[in-house]
């Protein structure tokens, strides 16, 4: 594997890392994987997970490009009046243009994680060169199934253990200042002031997913169950309003993992799952357009 630092985009103001496999092991005609900032973090992602994903994929023969959107990480600001979402799309298009020009790559697979799914979602819809997309902890909607299972959280022993530990430590006031801090509160506050997200309606989300599936785009959705808006495997099908064809859509659900996969073991599972799915889906069968959906929706067998 070799990694190169690249300045690209307008006047070379954007920064990214191109990770390439050893030429002897490269998967021919495979899509290039694209990753960019998750929240306010720079391109390495939470707990360096995007570096781990990139290197795992390189070992499996895939090219990837992880980069900073304009004004974030090491990239300079674009001097224009466009919205964050529009700028992110422009940056992604510049990354695609770079890989097409320098490496002759014709198909792409963006990976979104939390807030970065916004641009992945839009890019996938507008650019047919996107033959696959991965949405990690992306859009989630409260379905009937979600609310039916919601009270079950009261039966979760670990939730009670966590609650009681929190209360006990606060009562002891040994580390009251630390414990008063919500670890995600500041990030949410900063993100809330920095980002203006355009969350599609559930109906729109369902229509978009069905459009991508019909186009032949392969999709991997990853959700966790720890304090998030997603609490069972069947929720994705409920969200899109129908079952999903398992040859085109997969779902990975980690019931105990937290939103940023902060545990080393959870992160290892995520990296392996993204790598396995990419290799299984695109190794030797790259970028083939498939017929429009025939109506045989089913929940992915890998869910």
């Amino acid at each position: 594997m070799i990694e190169r630092a690249i300045a690209f985009g307008p006047d070379g103001r954007l920064v990214g890392i191109l990770a390439e496999p050893d030429p002897a092991h490269a998967v021919s005609k495979a899509p290039a994987i694209l990753m960019w900032n998750v929240g306010i973090q720079h391109r390495v992602g939470p707990y360096r997970v995007q570096v781990d994903v990139a290197r795992d994929l390189a070992r499996r023969g895939f090219v990837s490009f992880r980069f900073d959107l304009s004004g974030m990480g090491d990239s300079e600001v674009r001097q224009d009046s466009r919205t964050d979402g529009e700028r992110a799309l422009s940056d992604a298009r510049d990354a695609i243009g770079l890989l097409a020009k320098r490496r002759g790559i014709t198909t792409f697979l963006p990976i979104g994680f939390c807030s970065s799914v916004d641009a992945v979602h839009r890019l996938s819809l507008e650019d047919e060169r996107v033959v696959g997309a991965c949405f990690i902890e992306g859009y989630a909607y409260h379905t009937r199934g979600f609310w039916l299972r919601y009270p079950l959280r009261l039966l979760n022993r670990e939730r009670w253990r966590r609650y009681l530990e929190d209360r006990a430590q606060k009562l002891l006031t040994l580390r009251a200042r630390d414990l008063a801090v919500d670890p995600l509160k500041e990030e949410r506050a900063v993100m809330g002031s920095v980002f203006r997200r355009q969350y599609p309606t559930q109906q729109q989300f369902g229509a978009d997913v069905r459009k991508l599936v019909s186009r032949g785009t392969r999709l991997l959705f990853v959700y966790v169950g720890g304090d998030t808006e997603f609490n069972h495997r069947g929720q994705l099908a409920e969200m899109v309003g129908g079952r999903l064809p398992p040859d085109r859509v997969e779902l990975a659900y980690y019931a105990d993992a937290d939103h940023t996969f902060s545990r080393v073991a959870d992160r290892a599972l995520l990296v392996a799952r993204v790598g396995d799915w990419t290799a299984r889906t695109f190794k030797g069968a790259p970028s083939m357009r498939v017929p429009a959906n025939d109506g045989s929706w089913a929940l992915g067998k890998h869910a």
Binding site: A5, D178, R263
Partner: protein
């Protein structure tokens, strides 16, 4: 800014070189050392701001990722003190080569400050060594990380794991824990630094004691406490570095020679 890998092809380190942006460049360059991997992400933006400020002051600046962190080579679990000391020496040489500067100053934050100081205790010559919230005793640093680990664990649904091999989301193997635990900056004065400045955002006994020990070692040492904006004081030390401005201004002033001690 020029992002690039440097060092050997088997152990490439990632760095961003910022050339001087002032009309008249200075004859010195500044090497920026990030904190350890647990605190790296939250410091990235502050380091970018610091690098920009120093470039505008006329310095060549290089900030680099330690082995096993950021975009540099290696797994986080494989990090060692010895490897990181080799990294800082390599980065300093890279900066000298890129800038042709006659001297190099070094700024490090938290564990990065400690590693920079240990390098200057060995054979890294520095015009100024700025220790930003330095880790003085490795044992206390590990205790701080363990406290953060315990706090972060409250948001997990897994049973709390033993912190012996994982801390704050990253591998922290026993060998590294033992090596970090043995660090005592006061016992290893950075004699190759012509001037040492300790910058803290809050009064800390260990920083005061480090300053005293440096003076006892006849080093030109300064301690500066720069309280941050009180509005940022309720977010914990890790997060507050995201918002720090006064510390950055103090560091730039010291390097630019606007602060007389």
């Amino acid at each position: 800014m020029k992002p690039a890998y440097f060092g050997s092809s088997s152990r490439p380190l990632f760095g961003v070189h910022g050339p001087p942006q002032a009309a008249k460049g200075r004859p010195s360059a500044v090497l920026l050392c990030y904190p350890g991997v647990q605190e790296y992400n939250m410091a990235h933006w502050a380091f970018r701001r610091l690098a920009g400020s120093l470039s505008r002051e006329g310095f060549h600046v290089l900030r680099f990722d330690w082995s096993g962190t950021g975009d540099s080579w290696g797994e986080t679990a494989d990090g060692t003190i010895e490897t990181w000391l080799e990294d800082v020496a390599l980065a300093a040489q890279e900066l000298r080569d890129a800038s042709a500067a006659s001297n190099v100053s070094v700024v490090g934050m938290r564990l990065g400050a400690t590693l920079a100081a240990l390098a200057c205790a060995d054979d890294l010559a520095a015009e100024q060594l700025i220790l930003w919230e330095p880790v003085v005793k490795g044992r206390l640093y590990i205790e701080e990380l363990e406290a953060l680990h315990a706090r972060d664990s409250l948001r997990l649904l897994h049973p709390t794991t033993s912190p012996s091999d994982e801390l704050v989301g990253f591998p922290f193997p026993p060998t590294l824990r033992a090596a970090v635990g043995r660090i005592d900056l006061a016992a290893n004065p950075p004699r190759k630094a012509r001037r040492v400045v300790i910058v803290s955002s809050a009064e800390r006994t260990d920083h005061r004691e480090l300053h005293a020990s440096l003076e006892r070692a006849n080093l030109n040492a300064t301690y500066e406490c720069v309280p941050e904006d009180p509005s940022a004081s309720n977010v914990g030390e890790r997060e507050s570095a995201l918002l720090t401005t006064r510390s950055l201004a103090a560091i730039v002033s010291h390097l630019a020679g606007r602060t007389v001690s």
